[in-house]
Amino acid sequence: MREFKSKAFWRAVLAELVGMTLFIFLSITTAIGNSNNTAPDQEVKVALAFGLAIATLAQSLGHISGAHLNPAVTLGMLVSCQISAFKALMYIVAQMLGSALASGIVYGVRPDGNAALGVNALSGVTPGQGVGIELLATFQLVLCVIAVTDKRRRDVTGSAPLAIGLSVCLGHLAAASAVSALAGRTSKPLINAFNQITGNEAEKKTTLDQSLRGVLGDQIVEQKASCDEYLALIYISIEAVTEGICSATTPFLLLGDVLDCLPLDQCDKIFSFVEENVSTWKSSTFYSAGKNYLLRMCNDLLRRLSKSQNTVFCGRIQLFLARLFPLSEKSGLNLQSQFNLENITVFNKNEQESTLGQKHTEEKEDGMEVEEGEMGEEEVPATCSIPIDYNLYRKFWTLQDYFRNPLQCYEKFSWMTFLKYSDETLAVFKSFKLDDMQASKRKLEELRTSAGEHVYFAKFLTSEKLMDLQLSDSNFRRHILLQYLILFQYLKGQVKFKSSNCILNDDQTAWIEETTKLVHQLLKEIPPEGEKFSAMVEHILNTEENWNGWKNEGCPSFVKERVVDDKPKRPVRKRQAPEDFLGKGPDRKLFMGNDELTRLWNLHADNMEACKSDDREFMPSLDEFFAEAIEQADPTNMVEDEYKVVRNSNYGWRALRLLSRRSPHFFQPTNQKFKSLADYLDSMVSKLAKELPKDIPSEEIKTGEEDDDDNGDNLLKESNDSPSMQSKMVSNQQMDDVAAKLGAKWKTLAGQLEMKASELREIETDSEDVDMQAKLLLVAWQDREGTQATVENLVSALNAASFTQIADNLSEA
């Protein structure tokens, strides 16, 4: 008890606590740190981490507490009388506290989805075996610790802590590998063995395939192995396939075998494994070899499952298939649009076997047993207590046969029956309005919570006694009406595999149209939320139409291939080629569709060039614009500041714009500070005033950058300006000359001058003389064109009419 008061004792306990915390933290973090490790790597890593952590901590804390860091070691020390019982107790308490603390820390910093914190679990060994392994591993550790720290020994060279650490490492390696021999899932030994055996590659593969199946078969027959072991075997086979030592179909065969032989609850587990490995199955090695096996396997499973009970599992299988196969996969498709003709709805057709109340109970029971075997849930009532409308009953259920096999509708006689029965049934639906269940809100709430939204019945119950209830059931009615809509969609739709004689005549089409409307109307009337239901059904059927179209086109893939095109395609011309709308004549007159537009467009041969002409230059020159300002700026003129044009903001804005375009001063940096625009303009005006008297043409005051453009402009101007006569109006003298020369040939020119036939007739009636007529033509043209009646236009028209001689004379004049 003396040591209880000593400082060294508590230091040692504290060191043990800290050491344990660090040790557990380091080692568990390593163990759970990375989920991607496969088994053998993980083992080595964990073992090393444990070992190194122990070595480090023993080195750092060994001198304080001895760094036991393990209750087993403390116990060993106690047994070998190296520490007191009380100290051992306190050490163990400290170790436990430390490890709990560390676990807490790791729990806080762990990655997502790992709640177990690397807790050891037995896999593949019995608990007894586990105890043995742990016993030996711990024994070698404690032995090592005691041996190394034995003070009497002189032969211990090297680091004692490292030795202990390595011992821990060894223990972990041994124990862990012993535990997970099979669970380790390694195929290394197989590969080695495979490589050692000599022989044909294919033969060896077959042998391995066979032996794997054999092993699995034995396991299944023994019925001792758990799902994990089957999966381990399958895992090995997968690895063997990737290593190329067994054929690619083996994993699928094994899976198939397992699923065929196991009860459904275990199949669930196996299937989870299948689901997890979708990426494996989709890899190129497995996909082509295994897709058919997987499909068959899934179908087998689906066949075993109950559609109404195992909905979740069925859904998982469907989802898996959807993930496995591309969207356009055809194997699950009813390609030929065949009907499930086996789905016969049985009902009481036979009058003798029906269940009328008058008849004796014996007869009745016989009838029920034979006819309605599928009605498991319905107990057989002893007496028939309600009147039954057998007429409707039979007609109603006969209709199911048409829904089962719509092709019957194309036969004339059965169509008539269908028509009659349908009309009667729908009349009943129309007459028998359903009550709104939403009468009370409370009831609605109850419905929502208890019954659930989803109503499903795999097969219709066809007892005649249920008829009345069925008629008043909104879900049942929706089912029937939906069947109608689906049938009509088939009858109307284009289906590839419908034979050519399956065509509706006009009466049938009309009836279907009408009935579709009625059915939708009835759907809308069915509470609750009939309108919504009807709209939804319509939408779904439209979507179905798209699928139908897709099937008709032979199920093209949905993945669009990127068009690989080496040569860049010529851009598709969106507009008409100029040749299409350009005039064909020699003057290339364009026809704009409207006389006025045509005239405007054809003022110049090249409108772009025309825009560049001087006439189109509206920008005033500097001297013109600033003349007034300069004048006013002259102090001799005595103009008051406030009346100067520069004070006008409008003028100022325009002046700035002009300066920016025309004056180099605008861009020259200045150190003067101007308070207002007017001040700035004043200074600019004074500068301009200095320059302008030198009579520098404003166009030449240009910044360097604009020079190139200017040259081009000047050239253009020269070319445009040269034929000065062309803008001249045609004089009367010229017209007389031309008319005289034209004479009788004036009509040729008239075409080029775009004279109307009516005008020509007018000219002809006005005068007998051809010269006079020609003169009249020219006058009429001049009247119409007005200012555009220039010599140039007349010359071009004359040229077009191939009077080049006259044209030349005219231009020379």
Partner: protein, 330 residues
């Protein structure tokens, strides 16, 4: 119908075309339905055959048709053993047992009592004292004791002929409605008029354009349904006030309480389902354009059907109240 047209003579066709069914009554066993038409004929239909699984066209035809009266059969009533039919001024009683056996030869009515009443529009059975109330063209209600066939009393008060009668069992009262627009409530013990409700005087149910006559009358302890010229209305008998008025356009000829609903027929090709609150819940289409009579077979659960007859030779049968299943035909 097509078959009938082909085979029937023009006279028969004419006969069928102008036929109206005025009254119907179920047999005590509930398996048969008797219906009377405007030619004084009574037809007997077998419901069990028509409702049977092997029903065909033939089972929807009457098993027996006989002429009972000169004029139209306005009222039919079943007692435990007899079918009572009221014709022009006379009431006949036919034994159900014999009718079912189709003994046409032995058919002379077992009881025939001649009254000096021009036409008998309504009969009502009061099981409390085994008496029959009869009303018709002489503006009076006659009470006849069925034990001995003697008339016990005459209830006088209506100013025009009587359309309908109803017995309020609990209070041993008889209600009568007539052309004069009044519903009179009589105490059978004192033969006095206890109340007189002139329905057309109440603004909520008055319809002057249709007249003031009362053509249908039904009671259910504290409640009374009456209609005709005035709108069909539900009355609380203790307070003698209309509680709900049903928004039905035509004049109603017959109404009845059924479960928590009111079924009513009249002008218009439909059976109306009304709620006590005054809403019309549904109108179920049927064959005749105008309906005179409606009956629910409560005598037998397996044949619990609603039958409806009117201005047609068809009697519509409803197995489920919400749609017409088939028609019986004269």
């Amino acid at each position: 119908m097509a078959r009938c047209v082909e085979t029937a003579s023009p006279i028969l066709m004419h006969h069928l075309l102008h036929m109206s069914v005025f009254s119907q009554s179920f047999s005590p066993c509930g398996k048969f339905l008797a219906a009377g038409n405007n030619y004084g004929e009574i037809a007997l239909f077998s419901l069990s055959a028509a409702l049977g699984p092997d029903a065909n066209e033939l089972s929807q035809k009457p098993i027996l048709t006989f002429t009972a009266h000169e004029g139209p059969v306005f009222s039919l009533l079943s007692t435990d053993s007899h079918l009572l039919s009221a014709g022009n001024g006379e009431i006949s009683a036919w034994s159900w047992a014999e009718l079912i056996k189709k003994c046409l030869c032995a058919l002379p009515p077992s009881l025939r009592s001649s009254l000096e009443i021009p036409e008998i529009n309504a009969m009502a059975l009061n099981p409390a004292d085994n008496s029959l109330a009869v009303g018709g063209g002489d503006n009076n209600v006659h009470i006849m004791d069925l034990e001995n066939g003697a008339f016990k009393s005459v209830l006088q008060g209506h100013t025009d002929y009587i359309h309908c009668l109803s017995v309020r069992e609990r209070a041993s009262e008889v209600l009568s409605g007539g052309e004069d627009g009044a519903v009179r409530i009589w105490d059978t013990r004192t033969s006095q008029c206890v109340h007189c409700v002139e329905v057309y005087k109440y603004e909520t149910c008055a319809r002057p354009q249709h007249g003031k006559w009362i053509s249908c009358l039904t009671t259910d302890s504290d409640w009374m349904l009456c209609g005709g010229g005035p709108s069909l209305s539900l009355w609380h008998l203790r307070s003698m006030s209309p509680t709900s008025v049903f928004p039905l356009s035509g004049c109603q000829r017959q109404a009845t309480f059924y479960q928590d609903m009111i079924l009513t027929v009249g002008e218009g090709q439909c059976v109306s389902h009304c709620l006590m609150g005054g809403e019309v819940k549904a109108q179920i289409p049927c064959t005749p354009h105008s309906i005179n009579t409606l009956a629910i077979n409560t005598n037998s659960t397996e044949h619990r059907v609603l039958t409806v007859g009117g201005s047609s030779d068809h009697i519509d049968v409803f197995t489920n109240l919400s749609y017409k299943a088939f028609s019986l035909r004269f």
